[in-house]
């Protein structure tokens, strides 16, 4: 008994010592120390410019963010799918048509994946495309102006997620449906009939190589799973697209459980050149539809909407050789083609390996018919026949892979919050570095080009807490810049971003700079209501509509006093900025305007509609501090009662 109690005491005492020493036996965290020269590597001295542009999707803000790298400084927020009160985008009469859809005016969306236009598999700095996931759309932003010039709606699509992902010469941008939906009759069916009735679509939008103008060429009707992300083939795999898809279980409820049951989901490989052949042979059906195509004409500074009523649809199960499924471990997200075009890395969010497929082996498997049966009439290529190798035990929650110029791949891991670098050929893990926190996509400058620029990897994180000063319950989203020029990745910088930056693309600044427009030439301004000289300024009444032809120049409006406007009139201020110099916009605002102000760029005309709701005198003024006399840039509108006989009168300098 004595011995026993002595033993117990020593055990207890040992226990106490252990707990006292608990801090010392705590495992060390992955090293993320910032080394001394990080600040130098991101410092861009006053007067110097950044080396790269970074374009991030604005997520639920519906916009796009533009940053300089390596400084991480925000340069601009480009309005795309959401109204912007700063510029008047979506508020001004000229830009309202940009946000038209078959559902009417839709001034918001959820934008996910910006992608730069390319020529010969290299970014060309001309345009950037971005998808709207909610009300399916694809936008084209012109990088000579950083204005959104075109938005096309996608018919027959339930959520445009795997989009826009361009082919190597921007022949096509794609839009694949995240949510499958029924196409019976009116598109209505019991949801419980998902397995039989619901289908997905992939839209192939042709891009005019000179103008960038988009045209929905054809749609493929594909099995009813959820299409997630995509990449087009390049070099040897040019002519193909690869899409990841989840929910091969075809669950229609509680997908978090019901769509994660199978060990393998799929990659869908699409031979779009083959599809084009079938289209040329007249194999497409014409489906009646209704979708909006909105184009901003720079010459008239005005957007217009065309509603399109018909679309070419091809059911892939009737047309062999277009589509093949390839098994892919659990719930794949990223589907990324390496610079050679040979290797395709997929990332199963719930998988414990990264499968890397070989394009050559896929072609051989198709030729040899190495199939494992079919899925909804689409041949399923044997996993082993398509596989080049697996990256073993890479981390938790692989999401997306980009490539550098040295044959390395960088994969983001959502669950374990890290970036893992591995060798594309050997599948060996070379390095790993933590991110803060829960990284989604990542971006290597030109990381999806035939010749990547490399040098950096940018982490696009979902969670930001404890990295910046707090700003309430919701924190700004975070991006991080890492140097990948050496053997070890090195964290250089944290910087906040707008909305949720799902994905980003970066390219050398020179590519974009060479197309820059500094101002719009007044001589080329063909806006219907342009006023090119002050002497042409006037106010014209047309029934209840009053058109104010107004000019703005440092530092006055013409006219600056207007009388004869009545309560309930529709007053259209058509403001032309007469400046012909870089960076001299003028703003225009009028008291009681309940839509927005407008920001008018040099040489541009913009229209603000205002319906005065009360008798009085409403001041109007310039909102952009344009000169030393900016505060003096103002005027008045006298508003008389409806039906009164106040004469229409306008003047400047009287």
């Amino acid at each position: 008994m004595k011995q026993l109690s002595t033993f117990t005491i020593s055990a207890l005492v040992a226990g106490l010592f252990l707990s006292g020493a608990m801090s010392s036996c705590k495992p060390k965290k992955m090293d993320a120390a910032i080394s001394g020269d990080a600040a130098q590597k991101v410092y861009v001295a006053p007067g110097k410019k950044d080396e790269l542009y970074l374009f991030t999707s604005g997520g639920f803000s519906g916009q796009m963010g533009v940053y300089g790298l390596p400084s991480g400084r925000m340069l601009k927020q480009v309005p795309v799918f959401s109204q912007d009160a700063e510029s008047g985008y979506g508020f001004s009469e000229e830009t309202k048509p940009m946000l038209m859809t078959s559902h009417g005016y839709t001034p918001w969306d959820d934008s996910h994946h910006p992608q730069l236009s390319r020529t010969n598999g290299q970014d060309d700095g001309r345009w950037i495309f971005v998808n709207a996931n909610n009300t399916p759309r694809i936008a084209r932003t012109n990088l000579s102006t950083f204005h959104t010039d075109e938005i096309i709606e996608l018919p027959n699509c339930g959520g445009n997620h795997a989009s826009p992902f361009l082919t190597q010469n921007t022949e096509y941008v794609v839009g694949a449906s995240r949510f499958s939906i029924p196409y019976d009759k009116d598109g209505e069916a019991p949801i419980a009939d998902y397995k039989d009735k619901f289908k997905g679509t992939i839209s192939y939008i042709k891009v005019d190589s000179a103008t960038g103008r988009m045209k929905l060429n054809f749609q493929l009707l594909v099995p009813g799973v959820d299409y997630d992300l995509s990449r087009a083939g390049k070099a040897i795999s040019h002519g193909w697209n690869f899409f990841t898809c989840y929910n091969s279980e075809k669950a229609h409820t509680l997908l978090e459980v019901n769509a994660s049951q199978r060990d393998k989901d799929f990659i869908l490989a699409v031979n779009w050149k083959k599809a084009e052949e079938y289209l040329a042979q007249g194999k497409a059906q014409k489906w009646p539809t209704n979708y909006a195509h909105n184009v901003f004409d720079e010459s008239t500074q005005t957007a217009s909407t065309e509603m399109i009523k018909e679309v070419n649809v091809m059911d892939v199960k009737d047309l062999p050789g277009i589509c093949y499924f390839i098994p892919c471990p659990k719930s794949p997200h990223g589907c990324d083609v390496d610079p050679t075009g040979e290797y395709i890395a997929a990332s199963g969010k719930l998988a414990a390996v990264i499968p890397v497929y070989s394009f050559t082996k896929i072609q051989k498997a198709i030729a040899d018919k190495a199939f494992d049966g079919d899925y909804d009439g689409i041949p399923v290529i044997k996993y082993e026949a398509a596989l080049d190798g697996e990256v073993e035990k890479p981390g938790l929650g692989p999401l997306h892979t980009e490539f550098d110029d040295k044959g390395n791949a960088y994969t983001s891991f959502f669950v374990s919050s890290e970036i893992v670098k591995w060798d594309v050929k050997t599948k060996q893990i070379l390095d790993r570095v933590p991110t803060y926190y829960s990284i989604g996509h990542l971006c290597v400058p030109m990381g999806d080009n035939i010749k990547p620029y490399g040098k950096y990897v940018i982490a696009l994180n979902k969670i930001t807490k404890d990295r910046y000063l707090p700003t309430g319950p919701e924190l700004t989203q975070s991006a991080q810049l890492y140097d990948i020029s050496g053997a070890k990745m090195q964290l250089l910088l944290d910087f906040p971003t707008i909305g949720e930056p799902h994905y980003a693309q970066a390219c050398p600044a020179d590519l974009v700079l060479k197309h820059q427009i500094k101002f719009f030439k007044l001589a080329d301004n063909n806006h219907k209501y342009a006023t090119k000289t002050e002497k042409d300024a006037k106010v014209v009444r047309d029934g209840k509509d009053v058109h104010v032809y107004m000019t703005a120049i440092r530092s006055h409006f013409t006219p600056d006093n207007i009388e004869g406007v009545k309560v309930g009139d529709n007053v259209y201020f058509h403001v032309t900025n007469l400046e012909q110099d870089w960076d001299v916009p003028h703003g225009f605002a009028v008291k009681g305007a309940n839509n927005a102000e407008i920001l008018v760029l040099p040489g541009q005309t913009k229209t603000l509609k205002w319906v005065p709701d009360r008798v009085g005198v409403s001041p109007m003024y310039c909102t952009d501090f344009c000169s030393a006399l900016h505060q003096e840039m103002q005027g008045y509108v006298r508003v008389s009662p409806a039906g009164s006989s106040t004469a229409l009168k306008f003047s400047t300098g009287e």
Binding site: S5, L12, L18, K26, V257, N258, Q261, L350, S438, D466
Partner: protein
């Protein structure tokens, strides 16, 4: 009947007093740290309840199919406060009466409670760590998520730690002291 030394009785009485607050603070803590939780998540086990970031932990555990941690699943919480009050009572009685058999009784009871506590805690951890929903979104072959009984353990991206909390020390330290005093009293006899 052996009488206890006065200093033994005084110290045992102080131990009794020290154990009283153990009923009003957390006894044990489980800590979870991950890259996105650098400040850590903490679950506190009191004698009569669970506190801390239990909801957050449950939210995370659902990915791997771990059962929800709910207070009503633990009948222990109905018993544990009494067990502690009995410790206080036995220690106080030992101090007041000053008999050695009472010191034996108190020390044995403390050791019994300790052993039961460790076993019961391990049993629950085993249960939660192994009884996973087969339909969970994340399933890693061969992986169980049993937290450590004591110390640190890496569970996927989470570093899990299990340590006594204030209340635990308020029991462990007096228990060690009481058992130590018993040994001293036993040796003194010779």
């Amino acid at each position: 009947m052996k009488k206890l030394k006065t200093y033994t009785r005084v110290i045992v009485f102080l131990c009794a007093l020290a154990m009283i607050p153990a009923n009003f603070v957390s006894v044990w803590q489980i800590i979870l740290e991950a890259p996105q939780y650098p400040e850590g998540l903490k679950m506190e086990i009191w004698s009569h309840k669970i506190a801390g970031d239990v909801n957050n932990i449950n939210g995370l555990n659902h990915y791997i199919g771990m059962a929800q941690i709910k207070e009503e699943n633990f009948p222990e919480f109905k018993v544990m406060p009494y067990m502690i009050w009995i410790m206080v009572f036995l220690a106080a009685l030992t101090a007041l009466v000053g008999r050695r058999f009472l010191l034996w009784t108190t020390a044995s009871y403390l050791l019994f409670c300790g052993a039961w506590g460790i076993y019961d805690f391990w049993r629950w951890e085993y249960e939660y760590g192994h009884n996973l929903n087969p339909h969970a979104a994340i399933r890693i072959p061969g992986m169980a998520y049993q937290p450590p009984l004591f110390g640190w353990k890496q569970l996927l991206n989470f570093l899990a730690g299990s340590f006594p909390d204030t209340g635990g020390y308020l029991i462990i330290v007096p228990a060690v002291v009481i058992v130590g005093l018993l040994v001293i009293e036993q040796f003194r006899k010779k």
